[in-house]
């Protein structure tokens, strides 16, 4: 792929891919490795985006595959990934309002408590605005599985964050 095309893709989609990878991996070094792998694979294939209509969807799928590969390669780390997924990691942009900042910190923690597969669905639904059809395509899972993972994930987040949310509101 030509360098200028690669740069265009990076500038357009890197933030979204970064956020998705960070939600999945919850580790900045791993996220960087996976993001680099995504663009490395793109650079190696001249016709990587041939026939692709939805670039963002394509890149999110590639990011998911890269994250899964990374987890498999580092199996020892992957075993601890879930256990330490509640370790502090900054997912969200810093907020000037202390209450908002507290809510984001709680949301970060609550997301970390979700199983990675639920986290992936919740992220794609809430922050990428994908339909369940597209989520199922991206993660290569059945439609109903995507929907149920979202429902379970949202229930947990609601239980965990609703008191704080009500308090803030």
């Amino acid at each position: 792929m030509p360098p200028d095309e690669l740069e265009r893709l990076y500038d357009t989609h890197a933030d979204a891919v970064f956020a998705f990878l960070l939600t999945l991996l919850r580790d900045e070094a791993d996220t960087r490795d996976a993001l680099q792998e995504v663009f490395l694979r793109l650079a190696r294939r001249a016709d990587a985006l041939k026939g692709v209509i939805d670039e963002r969807g394509f890149l999110l799928r590639a990011a998911h595959n890269a994250a899964v590969d990374l987890i498999r390669r580092r199996e020892a780390r992957a075993r601890t990934l879930t256990a330490f997924s509640s370790e502090p990691v900054e997912l969200f942009a810093p907020a000037t309002d202390p209450e908002e900042s507290a809510f984001r910190a709680q949301l970060t923690e609550a997301l970390g408590e979700l199983p990675p597969e639920q986290r992936a669905v919740v992220h794609l639904k809430l922050w990428e605005g994908l339909t369940f059809d597209r989520i199922a395509e991206t993660l290569e899972i059945p439609l109903n599985t995507a929907a149920s993972r979202y429902r379970y994930g949202m229930d947990k987040l609601r239980t965990r964050l609703r008191p704080l949310y009500d308090e803030i509101r």
Binding site: F18, F92, A147
Partner: protein, 181 residues
């Protein structure tokens, strides 16, 4: 957000969901851009390694051929001449199987004559037609069925001339030369 799949949770009206979705994610660190794109660019150039190996191998073969062009050319010309002569010879003489058959028949007649002369000299009637000798190959000779003990007796060491035995249909009969005992 579109609602092409009619699932209960696929609604956009939930304020709780909108509240969560409104939380902005961090942007990718700016310093990563140049590093990732540079690595991707260099990685793209490293990939065609096997192709270079193939070209090195074919270069070696070409060099080997190119070093002795006269020798290779002469060898090829010689091979063509031999192949041509072979095909011309086959075209003129036909397949070689008939000549081999006639030689064999001639020799057979000569053997018959020699045998007849030998019979006359020895006073034996050898006028009966000679049949080809039976094959002595292991597969065609039936194995002689006899008791294992018989074979053992015949091969006893140190008793040659002292004992004699005959193989008869109902068993083995042996006798001892008492004069030697």
């Amino acid at each position: 957000m579109n609602t092409d799949t009619p699932l209960p949770d696929d609604s956009a009206g939930d304020t709780w969901e909108r509240r969560l979705a409104a939380q902005p994610f961090r942007a990718v660190p700016p310093s990563w851009r140049s590093a990732i794109l540079a690595k991707a660019g260099s990685g793209a150039g490293v990939r065609p390694q096997p192709a270079r190996d193939r070209s090195v191998r074919s270069g070696w073969f070409e060099r080997w051929l190119r070093e002795y062009p006269v020798t290779w050319g002469a060898l090829a010309a010689l091979w063509l001449v031999v192949a041509g002569l072979n095909s011309v010879d086959r075209w003129l003489n036909g397949p070689p199987t008939t000549s081999a058959r006639s030689i064999s028949t001639t020799q057979w007649a000569e053997i018959q004559n020699q045998r007849k002369e030998l019979g006359e000299l020895a006073g034996i009637d050898l006028r009966a037609p000679l049949r080809p000798a039976p094959s002595t190959s292991r597969e065609e000779t039936p194995a002689v069925l006899r008791p294992r003990s018989h074979r053992r007796l015949q091969s006893l060491p140190g008793l040659e001339g002292w004992m004699t035995w005959d193989t008869e249909p109902d068993g083995i009969r042996g006798s001892v030369d008492t004069a030697r005992v």
